[in-house]
Symmetry: C3
Subunit: 451 residues, 3 copies
């Protein structure tokens, strides 16, 4: 690392680290963003996504891309665009017993237009409830099969009289486009990117995934002020079809992605969870494991599986990118998942800050993980005369800073990165990184050229 | 897999699977076979083996081979043939205190002819008992050192007066031959065989190894009605010398053996045990592990050791064949082992059926374990429009069939067999296999040519 | 192994093994040596080291080497030589409140000459105590920064009146030399050495490391009477600088070191501890693990770390020699470590014998660990007719000697050493070695040429 990148590193660290006093403030800022985005009716296409991206542009200079309906993307095709003006179910008295205006989850996402009187029995074939949580409204979609339906609380369903109902869905499903946001921050070299991807297609669900959107936005905002080793690419895309479209449009450049994280469900009070990339031992996998270990907090590292968020696409066998997924409680493992209970009460500013802080630490490991060469490899160099070692011997065993110094020297044979050294020594990455920096200053280590 | 092999697979599955209603019947049939074979005095050579093989020929068209005494087989030579007409010990009153006619275990197997009056003290040097199980008769042999002796219950020994005894062993040990049975079922290609081997040298011992003989016979019987991917070779040989002779006679062809199982001790009520091949990670080892895991039943997988049954020979370093040993309770780990207590009361029809069923499942895994190539490897293909995925999204997490479909797509990169996919995903093999079949039907997977 | 090496092996085994009756005697002899060496004031240079080596020469024909002050050794330079005539602190009454003559630990090791009256406050800046063990004198050094100081019990410090004190350190720090001892025992080939290294720089500390010195001396004494496969090189050097100097002077020949052990802290009653070499899976690492496992005694195997004794230098990345460290309780893990409590009461003859015995067993494994080739690799050879297998079959399962014989035959395919076989079989090395010897005698194994 040259002198200038040293400065960069320091700047980056300063930018990314969240001093104790500042935390609540950033947490509130992220929470405010989530609160603004929460009421919008989003889907995989449509004006809700556009409005969402417009708001994000107040924070970061996001490019907004429109991909026309019918555009092929590998095995897929961009859907018709879906928009909703209104939707409701009225009883015979003209009362709206289910009202899209009150909660956009009420409408089966991607419902086709429909206006008709139907009996309760016929209506029931189009209703979705959660009997095990009778007060919650479920979230359901039908993107790829034309259908109409409503989601409501089970208690509301039980109240419905055996009568006729007026169903109105004033939606449009027409040629238009798929909209996604992209923000590219160039680093010292354009050829090596870190990808941060998050899905923006869910309507009024706070943790899944406005929390991911907020954390990604604030990482981008902070990184935009510093220069960095890697370039950073932020994607705000509708789930599945969005990442497929992006990969299809950018197929020739994905080899630049050296590390990647999909961000989702980052505001709930559960512990951190990291789902490894398909490769299983990619640098991103090892970096996140190290950061979570160093945190001293309970956490869970799970193996890749092809079910989840957009890592499914990034890790498909034709791409096999080193992209993992960072979450708190994983999708499907909290009862509020995909229901109206995943609301603003479910996400917490302090949890958002903790997620942001962990992401920052992960990026710091990636930025600083290099492989050095010990320039004095035969026996230990004399550290004492360089002030790198206590001069009164026999005093105590195992001071951590000296231990880190010895480990870096011992393993800097060209085959071990700082992450390897932290892993094998059991020491925190930051300690190893600082020891390496001190040894470089004393001319005892040299940077190996990047491969 | 071509269309025709598809049909084969279905047939095989039908042939091998044991529907619940049929199980007791097959269990009783195997038990009946064991009951017929039980009284016969078998050894590593002689008429007992011939009679045994003749009975098996009522079930399967077994070829019976005779290898003359003196035939060299690697470091060994085929022994003289041993046969017994009668053997007993009479007391002074002329009463038979030990009588071969009552139980063939009474005679030390391979005892030389002997007729003489001896004192109790002298006699005792030729008697074998089990003081820790005073009612049981032990089973002992002296194949390779000429000797005579009797086995009896310890209680019987204690009753013997300090007197003279008339010992008579009317046996013959003369040039003849070693007899073994072999049944070859050709598959789609002769060049790839599955070996099923079981030892037939033990006299009146039911679990060790008439249970193995019965299970092997019924597997062969069922397979004989179907065509299969692999050829199957069944060996019914005397232990050790039999497999050594077979290997010696067939040395040039053993490379055809792709997978193999030695079957023994399959009728007792203990849990399934699989002893891995010397290779430790052969496909047979992984297939059996998968089947036992999928069974959900308690079981034990143990590493190879060079002590046991004929896997000792198949796994000798000069052959190192991928042959493991499938048992219930392993030899030496049940107290009845090699005693008169290993009788017809010790083996159970339901345990025999369970063993047969497990073997069938193992063969199904081998028959169906192939490596496919995802033809749509960039991002997931759109499963919904092919009816391979639920069209109402957000409904539930982790339906197993869809998960298996995603796993097969994700790992079918040419490097992972279906067994690899089942292993990594933690899903049952049958689920993975069915997902692959559905994907093939939809043109999303192609069969890789066999290597 | 040829016939002559067979004899050698037997001799070596006899020489190294410690029959029960002899143990106490050798333990007392080692303890006597420690008692003689204990009072001497040693350091990394000086007459104390010379006197120590002179005493060792009564046991073994040690070569004593002098390396002049100023000699460069990689990143280091040989220090000035340090000697002490006297040192004390007197109170105003002329009483010696701290007296080097009573205990050489009182003087900060490598203190520069000093003679002056100082106030208690000023004096305190040069005093070292152990408040948590108020009766013990700590051991401190300042080899590489010129300083003066005294070590004393905390209780003594508390007794010192707030007064003036006369400090006298009659030491010399002048050009001279660093002294170390070396003893080379040639084996059947000079090209393959086992290194035994131990540090001799500590003054009156019994376990750290007169115990190591005594055990190394007695191993050398015993080996000197026998011929052996490997050459043995014993180093008695001051810690750190001594091994660095030796490596610097012998750099071109270190590739001869095939296995090495650093010996330290071998007289305390704790369990055996082995710290692996940097390689982690070197033959020495596997040999020691095997011996400790075979001992049946509690013990600990720890991974390499670059903090400890001279393995730090032997395992520096520029050398990366297969050298581990054998200890009982590791440095820093017993409270007496580097204090006056590490005295003659802390080391025990029986523990010294146990350490010597373990070292002997380790060397026996190294001497005897060879790779053989089964000359009858196709099926098992007929062991019974060679007397290597019980002739009455069915008698019992798993006799260890026969099992070892089968394992050696099964794995002697040219890829497995006896250590590999002991490891995989779970059998004791001695059993495997004896089985291999018997098989060689019967012409069933041949020695593979050394690579």
């Amino acid at each position: 690392m040259s002198g200038s990148s040293e400065i960069t590193e320091t700047k980056l660290n300063r930018a990314l680290s969240i001093p104790a006093g500042v935390s609540p403030q950033i947490g509130e800022q992220m929470f405010d963003l989530i609160s603004r985005l929460y009421p919008i009716c989003r889907s995989i296409t449509g004006n809700g996504v556009r409005e969402t991206l417009r708001i994000l542009q107040e924070y970061i200079p996001l490019a907004v891309n429109e991909v026309p309906t019918g555009t092929p993307a590998f095995d897929w095709t961009v859907s018709k665009e879906w928009n909703v003006r209104d939707a409701y179910i009225k009883n015979l008295k003209g009362e709206k017993v289910v009202d899209f205006q009150k909660c956009n989850l009420h409408l089966l996402n991607y419902s086709v237009p429909f206006k008709q009187k139907v009996s309760l029995d016929e209506l029931k074939e189009h209703l979705f409830t959660l009997p095990e949580h009778p007060d919650w409204i479920p979230y359901r979609t039908s993107y790829y099969k034309e259908a109409w339906g409503f989601c409501l609380s089970h208690n509301r369903l039980l109240e419905l009289a055996d009568d006729e109902y007026e169903v109105a869905i004033e939606s449009s499903l027409e040629p238009g486009s798929l909209t996604y946001g992209e923000y590219f921050l160039p680093g010292q070299t354009d050829a090596e990117e870190v990808l941060i991807s998050t899905h923006i297609c869910h309507p009024s669900l706070a943790n899944d995934n406005l929390s991911g959107v907020a954390v990604a936005t604030f990482i981008a905002k902070q990184l935009s002020n510093v220069s960095s080793r890697y370039s950073y690419r932020f994607l705000f895309t509708p789930g599945t079809i969005g990442s497929i479209v992006w990969l299809s449009l950018n197929e020739s450049q994905v080899s630049r992605i050296k590390h990647g994280l999909v961000l989702a469900c980052l505001g709930d009070p559960g512990n951190a969870t990291y789902k490894k990339s398909r490769r299983g031992n990619a640098e991103i996998d090892r970096a996140v494991s190290q950061v979570l270990r160093d945190s001293g907090e309970p956490h869970k590292i799970v193996d890749f599986s092809p079910y989840g968020y957009d890592e499914r696409q990034f890790c498909s066998p034709g791409f096999n990118l080193p992209v993992g997924c960072f979450m708190r409680t994983p999708h499907g493992e909290f009862p509020e998942y995909h229901t109206s209970a995943d609301n603003l009460d479910f996400v917490r500013p302090d949890c958002l800050v903790d997620s942001l802080f962990t992401c920052s630490n992960i990026l710091q490991v990636l930025e600083n993980n290099k492989t050095y060469l010990n320039l004095s490899p035969k026996c230990e160099p004399q550290l004492g005369r360089r002030g790198l070692y206590s001069t009164i011997g026999g005093q105590s065993d195992g001071r951590l800073r000296e231990l880190a110094t010895l480990w870096v020297l011992n393993l800097s044979d060209g085959d071990h990165s700082l992450l390897d050294i932290a892993d094998r020594s059991g020491l925190k990455f930051v300690l190893v990184r600082e020891a390496a920096a001190a040894l470089r200053e004393h001319g005892l280590l040299k940077n190996l050229p990047e491969n």
